[in-house]
């Protein structure tokens, strides 16, 4: 199982001292956090993509290319790459380029983006969100798998005899996770292609995500990629830890109370009860995270949101120490207990390369 972190890349004023990072500071902090993720033994760093303040990461492959040069092992990913407003030709090129630079340590998570005004900045219309996600991904899928593409669709100019360059490393396209928090169409899309499905599992009660993941697993089997239990599932999570539980609650509360997404609403205690947020000791984080398997089945990737709502970099790095030293080693061990042999790991460049070279096996 893979463990990592995902970041939104928000620039938020620290409510405890009123300071706000500059864009420069925030971008550099995101890189520092990514490097720290590798240092503490995490597997994945994923960055969001946004094109409006207060968010800084508008160009994920630029950032991930920089991180790739300074890491050895870390898988670089996104959370999410906007499949609706980015030209699929540019996504195909950018991520293939990144794959080469990072020696294959690359995958990506596609998402639609939910802010209406962003779409027209890129010549699109949010009312076409789902059709855009379907058509653009179908083209992206082809561009990575066919050397020469003839293509015509609704949303971009036709392609004739087009070859996207560079070709994917070793002829193996990056693995794709489809991220969605509310659309059965996207769960269906992930299942159809046999791709991964990621539910951010933050902000809302788990039952909400259980429906989508249940649907994805069932349809994954329907399309003949394996059993429902073998579908490739990723989950988010949100935690804040201190060795003593009450210290974690006291320290995180002002960040919670003023957080852009849920602040000025329910209390921290209510939100912890109703959503997967865990604020407490490392042991509490371990216990809570292990319950995800009961709700969603054995899964492949767990990403934590650690650096939002104005938390200072120093605090985030301390959180990553706790995550890497005290939480993830236990989670690796505990998640392995009772995990059926038939449940696969998350695909990596190496595993996909090996599979592409293996002789075809007919399934009874």
């Amino acid at each position: 199982m893979q463990f990592g972190i995902f970041t939104v890349g928000d620039v938020t004023t620290d409510p405890t001292d009123g300071t706000t990072a500059t864009e420069y500071e925030r971008i550099k902090a995101m890189v520092t956090i990514a490097l720290k993720a590798e240092e503490v033994g995490l597997d994945v760093f994923a960055t969001g993509e946004h094109h409006n303040p207060p968010f800084v990461p508008s160009s994920p492959t630029t950032m991930l290319g920089y991180v790739a040069a300074r890491t050895e092992r870390l898988i670089l990913s996104t959370s999410t790459t906007l499949i609706t407003t980015n030209d699929p030709v540019k996504i195909a090129e950018d991520f293939a380029m990144l794959q080469h630079l990072a020696d294959g340590r690359v995958d990506l998570m596609t998402g639609r983006g939910n802010m209406g005004p962003v779409y027209p900045w890129f010549g699109q219309d949010i009312r076409q969100g789902i059709p855009l996600a379907i058509e653009n991904y179908a083209l992206l899928h082809d561009l990575w798998r066919k050397d020469v593409v003839d293509w015509e669709g609704r949303f971009r100019t036709p392609l004739q005899g087009f070859t996207s360059t560079p070709r994917p490393l070793d002829g193996v396209p990056p693995f794709v996770w489809h991220g969605s928090i509310r659309s059965p169409e996207i769960a269906e899309q992930a299942a159809y292609y046999g791709d991964g499905f990621f539910a951010n599992n933050i902000f809302w009660p788990k039952e909400h995500y259980m429906r989508l993941i249940g649907l994805y697993r069932q349809r994954y089997a329907h399309y003949g990629h394996g059993t429902p239990e073998q579908a490739i599932v990723g989950l988010g999570g949100q935690v804040f830890m201190r060795p003593r539980s009450q210290d974690a609650v006291n320290e995180f509360r002002p960040y919670f109370d003023n957080a852009p997404v849920y602040g000025h609403g329910p209390s921290l205690e209510e939100f912890m009860e109703q959503t997967p947020l865990t604020v407490g000791s490392p042991q509490q984080v371990i216990d809570r995270t292990l319950t995800f398997r009961e709700s969603f089945g054995d899964y492949q990737r767990q990403l934590f949101l650690m650096d939002h709502a104005g938390l200072p970099l120093k605090t985030v790095l301390e959180q990553l120490d706790l995550l890497g030293e005290e939480v993830v080693p236990v989670l690796r061990k505990e998640f392995a207990v009772g995990r059926p042999e038939s449940v696969p790991d998350a695909p990596t460049h190496q595993s996909l390369l090996a599979a592409s070279r293996a002789p075809a096996v007919s399934v009874e």
């Binding site: 789902i130 059709p131 379907i134 058509e135 179908a138 015509e152 669709g153 609704r154 059965p184 169409e185 269906e188 899309q189 299942a191 159809y192 902000f203 809302w204 009660p205 909400h208 429906r211 649907l215 349809r219 399309y223 997404v261 849920y262 602040g263 000025h264 609403g265 329910p266 209510e270 939100f271 109703q274 959503t275």
Partner: protein, 201 residues
């Protein structure tokens, strides 16, 4: 037996809004056998505000929303504030699923200090429920302070009886509300096919 949900947006305890709601519910019960389920919005005020902030309903609010969505009929009663329904009343229906009341018989009622506000029922509540595709009974019931002491052929008791009769008749005339259908998947091939370029004319 059919279920009748009653939403009351009164703010005081006891409130004249709740009193009107109870009288309407009892009058419907006198016409047709119903199980009455009361939703007091005052008790849910914080949960409703939180739903706006977080995008999801607390368990308590979710239960109230289900009560309304699963009922066979609805009585909705609000005090009139500043020329319209109260903000709390509107907020509850803002967080209710937009499809939840489609085709559902609804009786609208309101309270206020003066009869001069009575048409708020017609210009505010009726369009709200029409927008939600509910079937709103013709008689809306408004109770001003003076109505609680009135008598005569068009007094409050008569209006309550007439509106309740209309709601009871509509509830009896429709099949019981079914639980919402499971989410259906549009098979992916169909989604893709819908995007294929149309053949040129």
């Amino acid at each position: 037996m059919r279920t009748l949900a009653v939403v009351s947006a009164g703010l005081t305890v006891p409130s004249s809004t709740r009193l009107l709601a109870d009288r309407l519910a009892a009058a419907v019960g006198g016409q047709t056998p119903v199980t009455v389920e009361i939703v007091e919005l005052r008790d849910l005020a914080g949960d409703i505000a939180n739903n706006f902030v977080t995008g999801f309903a607390s368990p308590r609010l979710a239960a109230a929303l289900s009560t309304v969505a699963d009922a066979d009929g609805l009585i909705a009663v609000t005090p009139i504030f500043t020329a319209s329904y109260s903000g709390l009343f509107k907020s509850f229906f803002d967080v209710l699923d937009q499809e939840a009341l489609t085709g559902r018989p609804v009786l609208i009622a309101a309270t206020g200090g003066t009869a001069r506000h009575s048409l708020a029922l017609e210009h505010a509540l009726r369009p709200l429920f029409t927008y939600l595709r509910a079937v709103v009974v013709p008689t809306a019931v408004y109770a001003a302070s003076e109505d609680w002491a009135s008598s005569g052929s068009d007094d409050l008791a008569h209006r309550i009886a007439r509106a309740a009769g209309e709601l009871a008749e509509l509830m009896e005339g429709r099949p019981p509300t079914q639980p919402p259908a499971e989410e259906t998947v549009i098979p992916f091939e169909q989604q893709l096919a819908a995007l294929r370029p149309r053949p040129k004319e």
